[in-house]
């Protein structure tokens, strides 16, 4: 079953007089529960594509279905609600909320995005913190954590709402290679545990080898799709 269906998808940016075709008519399907990476040189359109899948940006043409919803027609509020219900985000710079503790950061989507009851919330947050190995750091502030720890918390935050899909644009770019591997391993084990679909982009050849399906983007087009025999 496909979680994401893209056909003839494109995105054109207007930079002054010239139109930049960041994504040029790409079509692909991503199955539920898969572990997918988009790779390619800088400027090849990885972020642009992930932003469209993540309903942060709308396509210029073509069709994009995410979890059965045509996301190109959503307005600002609808898109926010859709993201809150279906998509978790992991950012290159971790983007934890600095005034909130680890626990509160993971709890945030359950309060401010979804509306969970307090008792249920506590159980869920603790379960996720346990899953990413950050249970004993729950009361620390983000500033007291290492990069790898921050990214673990961010992964817990992305998964806490039981999102169907987690999008990670260069999640390891700010981590050393050992930590990067651990984070990717964590994402993989989370996929096993929660059956969540993970899509990430990377420059790093060692990281891209971890993906089960790897799309290579060049100049906004998919040049190559590689599947790891599992």
């Amino acid at each position: 079953m496909s979680l994401i269906e893209a056909s003839g998808l494109c995105k054109t940016y207007q930079a002054g007089d010239i139109a930049v075709k960041a994504i040029n008519e790409v079509s692909f399907n991503i199955d539920v529960g898969s572990f997918v990476s988009f790779v390619g040189p800088s400027g090849s359109g990885k972020s642009t594509l992930l932003n469209m899948i993540g309903c942060l940006d709308s396509p210029s043409c073509g069709q994009l279905l995410v979890a059965g919803t045509d996301v190109s027609s959503l307005n600002q509020k609808q898109a926010a609600i859709f993201r809150g219900e279906n998509i978790g985000f992991v950012f290159q710079d971790f983007n934890l909320i600095p005034v909130l503790t680890v626990y509160e950061n993971v709890e945030y989507p359950l309060i401010m995005v979804q509306n969970w009851a307090a008792a249920k919330r506590r159980k869920q947050v603790m379960e996720l913190l346990d899953a990413v190995g950050m249970k004993d750091q729950a009361n620390k502030l983000p500033s007291q954590l290492s990069g790898g720890q921050k990214q673990r918390v961010a992964i817990a935050r992305a998964l806490v709402t039981n999102a169907k899909l987690v999008l990670a644009d260069e999640p390891t770019a700010n981590l050393d290679s050992m930590t990067a591997h651990r984070v990717i391993d964590l994402m993989k084990s989370m996929r096993e545990k929660f059956d969540t679909t993970f899509i990430f982009s990377t420059h790093d050849p060692k990281i891209m080898a971890e993906a089960e399906v790897t799309y290579t983007l060049v100049d906004g087009s998919i040049e190559n799709k590689e599947e790891l025999a599992s």
Partner: protein, 415 residues
């Protein structure tokens, strides 16, 4: 909601110095406004109280035209008994009137047997006068304040004349007056008190018993120059004045013109202009406060939004709906406003309390040692705090709106 408050409070604590500075600014503004209002209000109340409670009363009724020529105290414009009866009948019907007094006012010559000067007299029925002007005996700087204010043969003269003609309590003097027919008459009186002068019309008048005046002026009828009325509550002044004007407006003289004039003290005393100016200053300083709050909150919230663009992008990306982002920032402004308003009000109450414990006296015009008793009406404090809080919310709306409308991609890219 609870959580929005919690997050907003945490964000305020993150930028502690800025929060303290902004709160301080609002606090100082509120303290300044409340103290100014309190002091100006007590000054106003003191002066107005003196004018209404020792001299003018709240409302005065005259024959039409009397007030216009009040400088010359024209005996020809006195109210005849028939008119006086209309007034007293009406006044005794009203239950919002505390007291009224009837005065015959006239100008005379005052002689200490060596020198002569002119003097103006209010001649009165003492009990009625004191009921209407309860502060009048308090203005005696010589003579017994507890004794009957005036008695037949015993008069009270203003300080200026006592000084100018070097007379004192117990001295005999002569008053000479011309009556409305033009005949001159003089009588000997004893000075029973010297009255401190206050600013405003009638503030330098002497007082004598109404029987003495009728004698001196050889009045056949019981004419009256003015009726001064003290209301139970001055709050209803304009309403009562309106009703009285309407009632007395229906009486016409033989020529078909209105027979009576009804004035509030405000129309009779120049101090009412000062009072109005104080009121205007009150408004002005309140507008300043609103401007201070508006600008400081807007500034601090714009800064907060600008500094947190990346964070706004994050919470927007993970699905926080725009209206919730808006309320996060508005709540921060709200908290700043509440904090400033609360601290400001508490400090103001404390300062006003201290000012009451340590008496503040001042002089105004020729009056010295006036004691201010500043008070802070809880209503006023609540209204001003409410306005400050409301303005804080309004001032943070624009920055918060900006935050809520941000494009998450742009915001996330921002550093």
């Amino acid at each position: 909601m609870m959580n929005i408050l919690k997050i907003a409070a945490k964000n305020l604590m993150r930028y502690q110095r800025r929060t303290i500075l902004t709160t301080l600014l609002i606090t100082i503004g509120i303290v300044a406004v409340l103290l100014f209002i309190s002091l100006s209000g007590s000054f106003r109340a003191l002066m107005v109280g003196q004018i209404t409670d020792s001299m003018l009363g709240h409302v005065q009724i005259h024959k039409k035209g009397y007030v216009a020529s009040i400088e010359s105290l024209p005996l020809t414009l006195n109210m005849k008994p028939a008119m006086v009866e209309k007034v007293t009948d009406y006044l005794s019907e009203r239950d919002d009137i505390e007291a009224w007094t009837m005065r015959v006012k006239f100008g005379a010559m005052f002689s200490n047997f060596k020198e002569t000067t002119s003097i103006r007299f209010n001649s009165i029925v003492p009990e009625m006068e004191i009921a209407t002007s309860p502060l009048l005996p308090g203005r005696l700087i010589q003579g017994d304040r507890k004794a009957a204010f005036v008695e037949p043969g015993k008069i009270v003269i203003p300080e200026l004349i006592a000084k100018g003609l070097k007379v004192k309590v117990g001295d005999s003097i002569v008053i000479v007056a011309t009556n409305r027919e033009g005949s001159v008459n003089g009588n000997t009186f004893m000075i029973r008190g010297v009255l401190e002068g206050i600013s405003g019309p009638g503030g330098r008048d002497g007082y004598m018993h109404i029987d003495d005046a009728r004698n001196l002026l050889r009045m056949e009828d019981n004419e009256i120059s003015e009726v001064a009325i003290r209301l139970k509550s001055s709050k209803n002044l304009s309403k009562i004045h309106k009703e009285m004007s309407a009632y007395f407006g229906q009486f016409n003289n033989k020529a078909g013109n209105p027979a009576f004039d009804v004035h509030t003290w405000e129309k009779l005393s120049p101090f009412s202009n000062i009072a109005k100016m104080i009121d205007m200053l009150d408004v002005f300083i309140k507008v300043m406060l609103v401007a201070i709050v508006l600008i400081s909150i807007m500034n601090v919230m714009l800064m907060a939004v600008y500094e947190r663009i990346n964070e706004i992008g994050t919470i927007a990306a993970i699905g926080t709906i725009p209206s919730r982002i808006l309320s996060l920032f508005v709540t921060e402004g709200l908290l700043l406003g509440i904090l400033g308003a609360f601290i400001g009000s508490v400090i103001s109450f404390m300062i006003v309390y201290v000012m009451n414990v340590k008496t503040i006296s001042f002089s105004f015009g020729r009056q010295e040692n006036l004691v201010l008793q500043p008070t802070l009406a809880i209503n006023e404090v609540l209204i001003i705090s409410g306005v400050v809080i409301l303005v804080s919310v309004l001032a943070s709306l624009q920055p918060a709106w900006k935050a809520s409308r941000m494009d998450p991609i742009e915001a996330l890219r921002h550093f």
